[in-house]
């Protein structure tokens, strides 16, 4: 029996795989790491005292489903290096360590290899940001995952080597900058950092918190960020990007233009938290070549041929930045679409 | 019909600008308490209301207290509420009051007992203010009880009024109640105390439009205060009180709060005096009864006319 190959075991790939398997399809899931989960594998819950609707609650049951589903075979530590077009469907050439293998009888391929975070890129951390007081927002994930404040009532523990009394969140790193090869808005970072800021506010009521935005974005299907909301939580709002960073012994000093007063102003902080833009995954060139896809000007992928004809589908952040909920919804849609096409093909 | 002997009625009918005041009977049985209070008021006011277990706090009966005060030479208005007595008790009391020479009655529904110290009490509310007015009217003018039975001896001689809050919302609903009271025969009204003059002016305008001021005599309620706190408390906690912010600001700005309180009362009196249809004032200083003569003098309402 033919199988559907899903490449990438992150939330996009797993959502699609689970849907297909539930509909009775055989699925081959190919994951380059040794476990499922991709980027969000070890993310922590971002509830403050209430749910902030980060959607992480949704993902573990999907990963578990993939593990338990009999119709899904998972290949770990495996990458796809080529794709051979057959009369009916494809054969994928996979590589696992030294071992190269053929995976025949593939009827369709869903490519869901996700994105690269700006922090993972060499260029992401210029000299100026090399300082223990400057961290990436995602550096909070381990602290969040390990926190014991909801049930045991302790504070979130900083894993920084010092206890900051203030923090500034700097939005639009690795986004909206030609210099950083991302003229686009990554859309998810405002909501992401906002949630972390809320957790900090809840754990440290006395902490000074500020956020610098170029343009504040919505934060998903359910959350509408607003200045009123930030004000209520006593998170200061700056509608600009700082122009200069000065590193003093006792604090970091951000110079920014106070446009209301038309003057330069400064803000001191113990901790600077950088948002991180979503960048295209590292294998996009290869995927474009072997699956006959096109890179858009930002490096994300799109199909040239209709998936119904080509049998190649794209799911998740491989096509553009997106948050967990959008990724899951879109991946489900892709799976349903594939099933529908398969069904109508069978009828013909 | 016997000749009226209510002094209040005579003054109002003669077109005098009337001054009333208010007195709470003691929580106890000491008649001296009342007599002392009477000394302060004598000559400064035309009639004095005596409350009927106001805010549901038990005090000496208003009729007994009024009788004592009357003997001191004051004209009294007994307040009667429907909270504590049913139609049998109320009518019987009214007959008794008239027999004692107490001729003025202020008919009220009564505060709910939850405001007092006897929240557990069963309330009556068999008659509300409109029904009490109606009972007075039927007994006085027709010599009949509510049940239609004729009185067997002389009917009482009562001069009866009611209260109204010009600031209560919705306006039309409360106007409806006022009209019902007038329809039932109410002769005079005493209003809730006034701070918001714009709103009071508007109310009077509506009253005149409907011709109500020609059917009953209107006395404006005046409540002199001596602190910002008191004003704020009233604004916040007294249902239906309308204390505008500018009043509070004025008091806040004053150095001598007592003098300012008196001046504010005087200003309000001077304002309402000029309004067509306002036939008097009703002074009700809370826990500051000694100020009544001062306000009366300052407002050029002293001395009071003789009947």
């Amino acid at each position: 029996m033919s199988r559907i190959a899903v490449i990438g075991g992150g939330i996009a790939g797993c959502t699609a795989a689970a849907e297909l398997a539930a509909a009775g399809q055989q699925v081959l899931l190919i994951e380059k790491e040794d476990s499922l989960g991709g980027n969000i594998k070890n993310y922590g819950c971002k509830a403050d005292s209430l749910c902030t609707r980060c959607n992480l609650c949704l993902v573990d049951s999907v990963f578990n489903q993939v593990h338990q589903e009999e119709n899904i075979e998972v290949l770990f530590d495996t990458t796809v290096i080529d794709c051979l077009k057959e009369d009916e469907g494809f054969t994928l050439i996979t590589s696992s360590g030294e071992l190269e293998e053929q995976q025949p009888d593939i009827s369709e391929v869903i490519l869901a290899t996700g994105h690269t975070r700006w922090s993972e890129l060499e260029t992401g951390t210029p000299e100026i940001f090399r300082d223990e007081r400057i961290i990436w927002a995602s550096d909070f994930e381990d602290m969040l995952e390990g926190r014991q404040d909801q049930l045991t009532g302790q504070n979130l523990k900083f894993d920084l080597g010092f206890e900051p009394e203030s923090a500034v969140f700097l939005q639009c790193n690795g986004s909206r900058s030609l210099q950083e090869k991302a003229r686009y808005c990554s859309k998810v970072c405002c909501g992401y950092n906002y949630r972390i800021a809320r957790v900090l506010r809840n754990n440290f009521p006395e902490m000074d918190l500020s956020m610098f935005f170029i343009d504040m974005q919505e934060a998903g299907f359910l959350v509408n960020l607003s200045r009123e909301d930030l004000k209520e939580r006593e998170i200061d709002y700056y509608n600009c990007k700082p122009l200069r960073l000065e590193k003093e012994k006792d604090s970091l000093i951000l110079h920014y233009e106070d446009q209301q007063r038309g003057k330069m102003a400064t803000l001191e902080t113990d901790l600077l938290v950088l948002s991180e833009g979503i960048h295209p995954g590292s294998n996009h060139e290869r995927w474009a070549r072997i699956f006959n896809l096109q890179e858009n000007e930002d490096g994300f992928l799109r199909t040239i041929w209709s998936p119904a004809e080509s049998g190649i589908y794209l799911a998740g952040t491989i096509t553009s930045p997106g948050d967990i909920a959008t990724t899951m919804a879109e991946s489900k849609t892709v799976a349903y679409k594939l099933l529908e096409n398969k069904l109508s093909k069978a009828k013909v | 019909m016997a000749e009226y002997t209510s002094k209040l009625e005579q003054l109002l009918e003669e077109g005098e600008f009337v001054v009333c005041s208010e007195m709470g009977p003691p929580i106890g049985a000491d008649p001296e308490f009342i007599r002392e209070k009477c000394d302060d008021l004598k000559g400064y006011v035309d009639a004095v209301n005596i409350t009927d277990n106001q805010t549901a706090i038990i005090r000496m009966s208003s009729i007994a207290a009024a009788k004592i005060a009357m003997e001191e030479g004051l004209e009294m208005i007994i307040q009667v509420t429907g909270r504590d007595r049913n139609r049998i008790g109320i009518q019987s009391d009214l007959l008794g009051a008239s027999a004692l020479g107490l001729r003025n009655v202020l008919c009220l529904t009564g505060d709910h007992q939850c405001f007092g110290n006897d929240e557990d009490a069963k309330n009556v509310f068999d008659l509300d203010s409109v029904s009490i007015i109606k009972a007075c009217q039927q007994m006085t003018e027709e010599g009949k009880l509510i049940n239609g039975n004729e009185l067997k001896t002389e009917p009482p001689e009562l001069y009866y009024g009611g209260a109204h809050n010009p600031f209560a919302d919705p306006f039309e609903m409360h106007m409806m109640k006022l009209e019902k009271k007038i329809e039932a025969g109410m002769k005079f009204i005493q209003t809730q105390c006034i701070y918001n003059l714009e709103k009071f002016d508007y109310w009077m305008e509506e009253v005149r439009k409907r011709g109500l001021h020609e059917k009953c005599h209107i006395m404006a309620g005046i409540l002199p205060t001596r602190s910002v706190k008191a004003l704020k408390m009233m604004k916040k906690f007294v249902a239906g009180m309308d204390v505008p912010d500018y009043t509070i600001e004025r008091m806040e700005a004053a150095d001598d709060k007592k003098a300012e309180g008196v001046q504010m009362a005087v200003d309000i009196i001077n304002h309402v005096k000029e309004i067509e249809g306002v036939r008097g004032v009703h002074l009700m200083p809370v826990a500051w009864e000694e100020i009544t003569p001062v306000v009366v003098e300052k407002a050029n309402l002293y001395p009071r006319p003789e009947v």
């Binding site: - | 505060d111 509310f125 509300d128 919302d169 109640k177 249902a239």
Partner: protein, 224 residues
């Protein structure tokens, strides 16, 4: 519908005799079930709670629970007669009617009330009830635009609001709607404002309990 409220469990504990050996809790499957006060759920959880209590006290008390469809009718009670006789004390979770009806049927049994019968009301939201009727025996809703001044005004005034009505709320409590404002608004909406101006005279209370304990017969079921 008759609305009830389960009594505070501490009060129930106090009313139970100290030397009790067996207790039967009887829920009622009609009004108090619908008002979530004394149905099977409450009867069973009260049973379990009291069992927990007595065992923690080292007291050996047999606690049972059953629910009767309607405690105010003979036929429903009869099925539980043996069970009732087999316990020292009965705790009825019916309204006051059911408790007394059990008493009439079982003249030598201690019957205790487990529910406070609160009022005749409507369901305002799940788990929330509002008083609507007093059972005064002389319905005057036609005169008041269909809103009862007797049940829904805290002073049962029939000639209009008292001075304590403010912003649609009652002087007794901000949580209580002013019944008169409801009457007024509905009269306005239904074009019946003029009727409110009529003087009604004081209400006839003889049909209420002021006329003595009430009972009545439907003549279709009785001959002279």
């Amino acid at each position: 519908m008759i609305v009830g409220k389960l009594k505070d469990v501490a009060e129930i504990k106090e009313m139970l005799p100290e030397d009790i050996e067996s207790l039967l809790i009887i829920g009622c499957g009609t009004c108090v079930s619908v008002s979530l006060a004394g149905g099977e759920r409450e009867a069973n959880s009260l049973r379990d709670l009291l069992e927990l209590y007595y065992s923690s006290q080292g007291q050996d008390v047999r606690v049972n629970a059953t629910t009767i469809k309607r405690q105010c009718d003979d036929e429903f009670i009869e099925t539980e007669e043996l069970s009732i006789e087999g316990h020292d004390v009965v705790l009825s979770l019916a309204c006051g009617v059911g408790v007394q009806h059990l008493g009439i049927k079982h003249p030598e049994k201690i019957i205790l009330p487990g529910v406070n019968t609160t009022f005749y009301g409507r369901n305002a939201d799940v788990g929330e009830w509002e008083e609507m009727c007093l059972g005064c025996g002389d319905c005057i809703l036609d005169d008041f635009a269909g809103v009862c001044p007797v049940a829904r005004c805290s002073k049962s005034l029939i000639h209009g609001p008292c001075g304590g009505s403010q912003d649609g709320k009652c002087e007794v409590d901000d949580e209580i709607d002013c019944g008169w404002e409801l009457i007024y608004n509905r009269a306005e909406d239904t074009g019946q404002l003029d009727r409110l101006l009529e003087y009604e005279g004081p209400k006839d209370w003889s049909t209420y309990r002021d006329g003595g304990v009430r009972s009545h017969k439907n003549p279709e079921f009785f001959s002279e």
